[in-house]
Point group: C2
Chain length 430, copies 2
């Protein structure tokens, strides 16, 4: 399949940052064939007029729990313990095999509609989440959440061996669109010796690590009391950061924590909306950028956001840092776009994605820049961070395949998803 | 015109707060005729199936400068002085008669599409902004911005007399959909004696006051150095608060300022996105609510937001207060909805709007609650604050007239608006 979008605007990068060029973009199979000027011979290309559209890299949601859409809005405006122990966990106990497939599918549909082409997921059921990714055509890095209170912990061992088996199974039949990490859940749910077992498996499988880290003041306090160190130091001592690691949240890092991250190349997946929603606070992303840490962006799950719309998190990220640091230059629109695209690709180990150039994967989204809220075109890059809400996305392409066009999902059966998820919500709420 | 929406969900209020009822809502002329159960005789009513929709009060944007859409994204990621003096003001100088009409129309179109049915505007050209409101069918409280560095100041006097003439002219031909305030701009742009002249005119015209107050640390510092008081005390001394007043921003209030506001019944129009964008900080709305102050919500202008989408400001308002106070109950979804609807109606003096009950004005919006990001329906009220982005609005009605349906504006010519605003942007940017 070859497609040529003519007469369009394209968000590219040069050595000075982003630039918007006018011209054509060609797709050949799963790759971008050319950008800017079309070659003389365009035989075999289906040509589409791209007027009034901006083509940009798909956004990369670098931390979410897609299946949790089934818990959207169930437990808002509550204290954390009541939220987690009184509402979310009792409902998780009621989930049956298959539920997680539909919850993930709802999350994927929502992400596609709002311009996300790849995500890093953490979940509690094997296979069915991956199956939803496989069926939908979206790109994802999948990671089973792992907790274990000691080495040899029975539940922890079972989860780890299930995760390893899942990775081996899917790898053997995969097309490269689905990759994996292992996800020791958090310092407070994983003992050091258990983490070391996970890391050993990760080394054998040659996969990276996905974890929650330094999310709340409570976590900082508890780890300090029990281990006399910060959550980052706790993980550092296990050797985690010798593997490629994505650490979600990182609301509270010390200067020395930041040094460790910068030194070890750990990526931070910041989740500005979730951190506000759960009243954890505001991550000082400006500081992390100043240190040269690779920061990427995630929505977290729908139970703590409550939507999987990366454009919303992009606006929160950029605007919050200006307001908190009282510095309008703190995190610029360009910084935000880089965090939501190319930095995410780097963190997730997704080669040849996250930016537009010939030879890269055709993971692209098309933005209707003539929406009234995007008009006039005084500064299109700025409008992506400060004016867009995600509903401007008119077309989404992953691996060169169109997965959404004019609001219509091509691979996700919306009616069926609604039917199944309503059924699940009925059951777990009663 | 009589319309009956059957089989729908309706956001109403009872003595305990909001509730969602299932049933019908009837519109007769500019009023809500019935809510819940339809009367036996519905002859003359055009009946529409409302399945999958939530009918709720239109949002009330309690502080904006609609014409400033022409400056959207022109000067982002800049220090305040460079933003205002280097970029916004030089462009304002290039505006010609008529430009403000199209800028306002773009803002109105954007507000209608994202669910705003009424707004409080402050502007710098007379008549043409009001004309845009008149032509579009939206509800608005219009206020010419007034500045004067002393009593008898020539420019200040001219602006005031133009504003008075504008109010008299439009009142004589108006239908009640357009009302007025006078808008002494801010403490730093209006001398006390000039404000007193404005207040005198407001008393004669029987209109309220719209002003900017306590927006930035700089303002607090400068007023303290020059007058030895807070901006609120400065205005209090002029007698301003003896008139109904809407004070925009109020990022920095002392405890004693809050006492004055509570005592005098001053309304605060909070603008969370604008305050972040311009790096002014975060208004402690939770404190204001605890004091019993009437808080309403505004987007501010597109130059400092950069969109006029009340659903976005609603999510920032509720989420920011949780994060800043590290309290997930700080400003709840219900608090936010009240702030964005009924509190706005109270602040703007809009009787019989802001809530749904028989006899009230039919200023209504319809929300597609089956969008994936609003699903499942675990808690619809919560989804309005935390999951919606404004694109779920499928129908907007003001005074019982449908102004937007399925994304199509009925009274605003979108193509023409884009054409005219692009022309204006070209001129003022070059």
């Amino acid at each position: 399949m070859k497609m040529l979008f003519r007469n369009t605007k394209i968000l590219c990068e040069n050595e000075n940052g982003f630039e918007i060029i006018d011209g054509s973009i060609g797709i050949d199979g799963d790759r971008i064939a050319f950008v800017g000027e079309a070659p003389e011979d365009i035989s075999g290309y289906e040509t589409v007029d791209g007027k009034g559209q901006l083509v940009m890299p798909g956004l990369i949601n670098s931390h979410t729990h897609a299946y949790m859409t089934v818990f959207r809005n169930v437990a808002d405006d509550l204290m954390f313990d009541d939220w987690l122990f009184g509402n979310i966990m009792p409902r998780e106990d009621k989930l049956l095999p298959g539920d997680s497939y539909w919850g993930t599918m709802l999350g994927i549909g929502e992400m596609l509609k709002s311009g996300t082409t790849a995500f890093l997921d953490m979940y509690i059921f094997t296979d069915e989440n991956v199956q939803a990714v496989e069926d939908s055509g979206i790109r994802a890095v999948m990671s089973r959440g792992l907790s274990g209170i000691r080495a040899g912990d029975e539940g922890g061992n079972r989860r780890l061996s299930e995760a390893v088996a899942e990775i081996k199974k899917w790898r053997s039949q995969g097309n490269g669109r689905i990759t994996f990490m292992l996800a020791p859940h958090a310092p407070y749910s994983c003992a050091p010796d258990y983490i070391k077992e996970v890391l050993e498996c990760a080394r054998e499988l040659n996969v990276g690590i996905h974890t929650h880290l330094a999310e709340s003041r409570n976590e900082i306090k508890n780890i300090a009391e029990t281990y006399g160190c910060t959550p980052v130091e706790y993980m550092e001592r296990t050797g985690m950061f010798d593997l490629p690691t994505v650490a979600a949240h990182c609301v509270y890092l010390t200067d020395s924590d930041m040094d460790i991250f910068a030194d070890k190349g750990v990526s931070i997946a910041t989740n500005p909306v979730s951190n506000l929603k759960l009243a954890n606070g505001i991550a000082p992303v400006k500081k992390y950028l100043d240190r040269g840490i690779n920061v990427c962006l995630g929505t977290d799950g729908a139970a703590s956001n409550n939507c999987l719309n990366m454009f919303r998190d992009l606006s929160f990220l950029t605007l919050l840092n200006k307001g908190v640091f009282e510095d309008p230059l703190a995190v610029s629109a360009e910084d935000g776009l880089r965090i939501a695209t190319v930095n995410g690709a780097k963190a997730l180990g997704l080669e040849n994605t996250g930016s537009i150039k010939a030879g890269n994967k055709a993971d692209l989204i098309f933005i209707d820049i003539n929406r009234l809220n995007m008009f006039p075109h005084n500064n299109i890059i700025s409008s992506l961070a400060y004016s867009a809400n995600g509903s401007e996305v008119t077309r989404v392409m992953v691996d060169g395949k169109i997965l959404m066009e004019n609001g219509e999902l091509k691979t996700v059966d919306e009616e069926r998803v609604r039917f199944e998820v309503a059924r699940i919500a009925d059951r777990i709420n009663n």
